[in-house]
């Protein structure tokens, strides 16, 4: 069990159980106004998480705003991936994991920690660190999520696959080879294919777990561009170890350390004017 978990997330050595710090929420006046006009897509409320005996998240609270890109940054083992994978209940695939707290999902305001994990995953899409297309054709990869939902009508599939591939900025490269194997694509194309696959069922929330860490700078730039383009239509949470990436593409950023959310708020504010010393140490490269 431990080995399975270890594959996904580097565990923090020890989370101090005594004084759990209050997260600092950065909001400038303009942001507050923006936030007020915005709707919540999800709201994390004192979420803690354990891999067996190992506490990986300590009472994290964080609103997720609709149609914004939220970035999670922090050093290795800080719990950012663990938090991300809580949103689609990926931890439930492995034994011995435990949640405490809530993630309210809006608009219906339900705690997704208590929903059926399959139901949660039907609404929350995910893109992984390593491109992981299925050993099937390009078309079938994008159609996979639709087929899982019982959509088999050719016309519907064709239309949704095309739209998703366009959204993922891959359509022009693959439109003439839809029935080639997905493995014939380059790494960057495969990752965009995975994004198209996640977009096809029109998820309420799209999770990206260091989606560019295995890619070269050009492929990375393409993915950043397409994510920026998605901002108006999809709510995105992205985990990245690359601070420049977070600064470039996200609207909001959360800085995590040792399983805690240290600081969370407007990306510009957090990077230019961090309130917490640990945040400024990290973003100025003093550690991490």
């Amino acid at each position: 069990m431990q080995t399975l978990n270890a594959m996904h997330s580097k565990k923090p050595d020890k989370i101090p159980m005594k004084n759990i710090n209050e997260t600092v929420y950065v909001t400038s006046g303009a942001d507050a106004a923006a936030a007020a006009s915005n709707t919540l897509r999800a709201d994390v409320k004192s979420l803690s998480f354990w891999y067996g005996e190992n506490r990986a998240l300590s009472s994290v609270s964080m609103p997720v705003w609709d149609r914004k890109i939220t970035a999670l940054i922090g050093p290795s083992g800080c719990g950012k991936s663990t938090l991300l994978r809580s949103f689609n209940r990926m931890h439930d695939l492995y034994p011995g994991n435990r949640y405490d707290g809530e993630i309210r999902l809006y608009p219906e305001d339900r705690n997704l920690i208590e929903m059926d994990p399959g139901l949660v995953r039907l609404r929350v899409g995910m893109v992984f660190q390593k491109p992981n297309p299925f050993p099937k054709s390009i078309f079938e990869n994008v159609a996979a999520g639709l087929r899982v939902r019982g959509i088999h009508r050719r016309a519907v599939l064709d239309e949704r696959v095309e739209k998703s591939l366009k959204d993922a900025a891959l359509w022009n490269e693959v439109k003439d080879r839809m029935h080639d194997s997905a493995y014939s694509l380059s790494g960057g194309q495969q990752q965009r294919l995975c994004i198209a696959r996640a977009l096809a069922p029109q998820p309420d929330l799209l999770l990206l777990d260091e989606p560019t860490s295995a890619l070269d700078p050009i492929a990375t730039a393409k993915i950043e561009d397409l994510l920026t383009g998605l901002r108006q239509s999809v709510t995105v949470i992205i985990v990245t170890h690359n601070m420049q990436q977070a600064a470039r593409i996200s609207d909001l950023t959360g800085y995590m350390h040792m399983g805690e959310l240290i600081e969370y708020g407007d990306t510009g504010e957090l990077f230019t004017n961090p309130r917490e010393k640990r945040t400024s140490d990290y973003i100025t490269g003093r550690f991490g």
Partner: protein, 312 residues
Amino acid sequence: MASSPGKQPAQPELESIVRGNRRSDLVMAGIGMIVLLVAMALLAAVFIDLAVKGWPRLINPDFYINFPSRHPEQAGILSAAVGTTLVMLVTALVAIPLGVAAGVYLEEYAARSWITDVIEINVSNLAGVPSIIYGLLALGLFVHAFGLGETILTAGLVLALLILPVIIVATREAIRSIPLELREAAYGLGADKWQTVRLYVLPAARPGILTGAIVGLARAIGEAAPVITIGALTFIAFLPPPPVQAQPPFINFEWLSSPFTVMPIQLFNWVSRPQAEFHINAAATGVVLMVMTLGMNGLAIYIRYRLRRDAR
């Protein structure tokens, strides 16, 4: 680069280390090659020996279309070949679905507990049980308790039992070799367990499963002991009724309850005759059996190659 505090050996020393490594690589490659050649040579020797001895019969078409006979020069393997084919058909139809289903259950569904551990150990142990024990089990259970008689069905079932562990183990290993990322991709899309297994895990595991199934069948085809134990005939001069017929309902299952013989039994029968002429027949049968076994293994390799290539 050379800033490590430990003293770096001088260049000539490094060169001698590299030379030493290269030498031990060569020695290991040589040993491996010799071992491989010995194994291949033994197989080739057996095969060539049988082929030379059986040659007069192998090139005679009558050998393949005649029933056994007390005149060695007229005796053929028709009834044994048909019997083997039909028995293998039953074995494949029973063992592959059962074995794959059991493998999928153990790997994907069964909760980890001491019961599954015991089942797991037992499945592995069953692969090592002598085949005659399976014959005894089948004699008691299928022939007598169930009253199935000394029939093709019974033989197919006992051979299916015999290779079930092989197929289960192959299925589990094939499933286990599917990368975690692929499963997470499927679950991440909202697929449930059965969708994940059916749409993504099983197709990806197909090369391994098919290889295991064919290797199992290739083992079953050469088994004589359990089939003798259940009371297969050693001399049979008629064929079972054909599974297809001209009149409705066009298929019949009478062949399942027919008496039969299989090629290893035919071989055993001929080799135990005192007349040397029958030994020629036995050698020829041996060649046919080996060709069938090697052919099935070849098919397994080909299927695996094709499916792997298609998956790329």
